[in-house]
């Protein structure tokens, strides 16, 4: 499957996506915050520096908010990667969360992991699992283990049909093989060896994810029973109505209903805990965003905050007000959603 960008799809343009969401008649996000007596979102202490090192990926998933794939060439350079590490050197942000695309395909990925590890930071690799089986990446799993990298991997279902429907034919079987490889290195065995393995569940369709704790029990029991695979945590993440998932919503006639569900399920408790309040997101070109979703919608940080790594290294000011739009309802619906899963009961 080609990316939306490569086929010149109108939804490859962020401003068209925002227009489509506005045309659903959904209210503005900040207006709903006000209606609930909640203040505009501002950051607290930054706990996670999430760095998107590029859009190149060996998969083309049907729901991908990045529109990533083998035909995407945007990739973070060594110079920008060095600025990321410099930012970590100057600020005590505890976690570096590396995402993509398939972040491991960036030639500077391992350098960045090594440097962050040397600085004593916790490193997360948002891994699609199948990358671990690529011939040139056969030593990747050992590298991740050696640097105590937490692996957070997508697996929308513990069954083949759901996973392959979202992530591509044959992905499930390869994912199980990769999970076994990680388990063999001590990942996900719960023995406190520091090798954490998380799985991400995204709904395979136009509905919200179920209860995270309940799904985790299901996944743990079924993956162990069917495949002898173990992991530590399951994170449920709501599909954002942007990019390829937005295209799916439009094509399937689900867009208005899905937006209605997101808006009607607005949870003020989740709104207080959204990830943008403790994250800083960095694009492949060093531009700064409130989250990876804003990044894909070309909505850089606003309200006078430093716009690039270079500006931030100069100013040193991490505090900012968050830019929102209608897609933000995806993070506040039901139990809420973030890159670390549900955020509320």
């Amino acid at each position: 499957m080609p990316s939306l960008l490569s086929i010149g799809h109108r939804l490859s343009h962020p401003e068209r996506q925002l227009r489509v969401l506005a045309d659903t008649g959904s209210p503005a996000f900040d207006e709903v915050l006000r209606r609930h007596g909640l203040p505009a979102l501002e950051t607290g202490p930054i706990e996670i520096l999430q760095v998107n090192v590029g859009k190149l990926c060996n998969q083309t998933c049907a729901h991908c908010h990045v529109d990533a794939g083998p035909d995407r060439k945007e990739i973070m350079t060594r110079e920008t990667a060095e600025q990321v590490i410099e930012l970590l050197r100057r600020h005590p942000i505890p976690t570096l969360d590396i995402t993509g695309g398939a972040p491991e395909l960036n030639p500077n990925f391992r350098w960045m992991v090594r440097e962050a590890f040397r600085l004593g930071r916790h490193v997360i690799d948002r891994c699609n699992l199948t990358v671990l089986l690529i011939k040139a990446q056969r030593d990747l799993a050992e590298f991740l283990a050696a640097h105590k990298v937490e692996v957070i991997a997508s697996l929308p279902s513990f069954r083949k049909n759901g996973t392959d429907a979202q992530r591509g034919d044959g992905v499930f079987d390869k994912s199980i093989e990769a999970l076994r490889m990680l388990n063999a290195l001590g990942y996900g065995d719960g023995n406190g060896n520091g090798l954490r393995l998380g799985l991400v569940h995204n709904p395979v369709g136009a509905f919200l994810p179920g209860n995270q704790a309940s799904l985790e029990r299901d996944y743990k029991r079924e993956l162990d029973r069917r495949f002898g695979v173990g992991f530590d945590n399951l994170y449920t993440i709501t599909n954002m109505p942007i990019s390829r998932f937005l295209d799916f919503l439009e094509r399937s006639g689900n867009l208005e209903r899905y937006m209605d569900v997101l808006v009607q399920s607005f949870n003020p408790g989740a709104a207080g805990s959204v990830m943008c309040r403790s994250y800083l997101s960095v694009g492949w070109d060093g531009v700064l965003y409130d989250c990876d979703f804003n990044q894909m919608l070309d909505l850089p940080v606003g309200f006078g905050a430093p716009q690039t790594l270079s500006e931030l290294l100069e100013s040193g000011d991490l505090h900012r007000r968050v830019r929102t739009d209608r897609h933000c309802f995806g993070c506040t619906a039901g139990a809420g959603s973030s890159c670390a899963g549900a955020v509320a009961d």
Binding site: S157, F158, R159, N161, G162, H201, P203, V204, G205, F207, L208, P209, G210, N211, A213, S214, L215, R217, D218, Y219
Partner: protein, 110 residues
């Protein structure tokens, strides 16, 4: 076209609490407790509910528990198997009542 079943009635379900709020609250409290994670997961309970919904032929429940089953991580294979379980029990129930037929026929026949 007017029908006895209206899809929007499901959204009005809570109106059933208007005249007997205490009973409604007791029902809802019980209902929510039944579907909470327990010895069975929420996904498994949704699949049971879906199967029962087809057995009692409630269109509201089929709608609600199809969505709930999907949300809780079930897929179409699992949901279809659940409906077959309901179907097997309904069919088996008819067949086993045939034994009553046989008992009566054997008593009356020569």
């Amino acid at each position: 076209m007017e029908t006895y079943y209206c899809p929007h009635d499901l959204e009005r379900f809570s109106e059933m609490g208007k005249n007997c709020p205490e009973l409604w609250e007791k029902f809802m409290s019980y209902y929510n407790a039944v579907f909470a994670d327990g010895a069975l997961t929420e996904r498994e309970k949704s699949l049971i509910a879906l199967a029962v919904a087809t057995a009692v032929q409630c269109p509201y429940c089929i709608d609600a528990y199809t969505k709930a089953s999907l949300e809780k991580g079930a897929d179409l294979d699992q949901m279809t198997e659940a409906v077959h379980v309901a179907n097997a029990i309904r069919g088996g129930s008819s067949l086993v009542h045939g034994v009553q037929m046989r008992t009566v026929a054997e008593k009356l026949g020569m």
